[in-house]
Symmetry: C2
Subunit: 224 residues, 2 copies
Amino acid sequence: MTNLFLMTRSEENYIKTIFHLGGSDSVPVATNAIAEQMETKPSSVTDMAKKLADKGLVHYKKYQGVSLTEIGIKTALSIIRKHRLWEVFLVKKLDFTWDEVHEVAEQLEHIKSEKLIDKIDELLDFPKYDPHGDPIPSKDGKFMVRDKELLSDLEVKAGGVCVGVKDTSAPFLKFLDKNGIALGKTIEVLEKEDFDQSLHIKIDQSELHISHQIASNLYVKKNN
Amino acid sequence: MTNLFLMTRSEENYIKTIFHLGGSDSVPVATNAIAEQMETKPSSVTDMAKKLADKGLVHYKKYQGVSLTEIGIKTALSIIRKHRLWEVFLVKKLDFTWDEVHEVAEQLEHIKSEKLIDKIDELLDFPKYDPHGDPIPSKDGKFMVRDKELLSDLEVKAGGVCVGVKDTSAPFLKFLDKNGIALGKTIEVLEKEDFDQSLHIKIDQSELHISHQIASNLYVKKNN
DNA sequence: ACAAATTTTTAGATTTGCCTAAATTTATTT
DNA sequence: AAATAAATTTAGGCAAATCTAAAAATTTGT
């Protein structure tokens, strides 16, 4: 019966991290993994795990890792919904670039006002995906997982539309910008280099050579 | 040389409160006054006063009250700027009513991103006043104090335009809404009741009887 | 001016969220 | 199946922001 409105920022960040590490599938997430992801110490994670368990947000048994309860999952989705809607807002309404949005959205996602986020949703015309191609959960926590695959997994001659990125770090996103790679662009694999798995691709009109590292962080939706 | 970006939410709230209580004019504000305004205890205020003094944001001498330094004033204005711009955003872009904005703006004012607030400012077309008629400081901390007076101070037959409210509480604002009183409306004093200082006023086309309590919380700009 | 009232500060706790270092449990090797 | 390694928890502490209760300074009233 935990009121989601009284969660601290720190609690919300833990819930979000556990969700992202897969703790929603009742597959528990390791203390160490959470600590690493959050750049904190395992002992701090243990402390928080106990607190969140008391509040009914996670399942926690000593030495067995942490997974989200149903309420925990709902909470996580609500935070992620806010994060991604704010990202869309920043890009669409305030002309932020997609490498600038994350840091600010990390703050905005903790603003407590149901009306606020619903109105932002409406202002943006109920977007389904954020600027990195990740799906935005609806108010009731549902979202579509779009079928997509890594560009690095396509065969030669295959192609599709760029629909998302795996790495969302600023350097990577800036690289993409600089090379004209963006969501919605059409990509075709012209050639794969066996030696280092680098790719020769066609993007819109121009051609480009990209490393495996790049290709394995780009999602495409294959055409038929 | 305090970096404004590393202020805690609590520190920002103290600075803002001291500003509103008049501590910018080197007239010190009493510990108790701050405590009452912030619904906290005087001893907590003392603690914070010391901390803010260490950071160079306030002048503080034991038993002598607190006033803002120049840096403190700049900080206060920057927070107030954010608060008021967010209020305009909520009303103009998200259809919040003027009694709903304060609580959410209290949260949004603490978001740390210079680019964000500048873009919001731009999106709103650089507004000069917030939804309650209070001036919005510019980026460099300047703002116009509009000349205005309390409706309760006007003589009979005098009139003007409603430009602001003193009390910004939700009940008061809802009362105004219900009675068709809003910023920009033309008001004329038809009659003053000596007994209880209540007023008979004309607002746009209709007539209305309001108590002194109401009139003394409404600002008007007298017409020449 | 001096006693009483008020205001303000100090001292000592509490809570949250984090830390380090040591102990414990679980997992991996050989 | 020990022994070793790795992961996790416990214990004890720290800083921020608050509180209560008691002490100290200031202000007020007569």
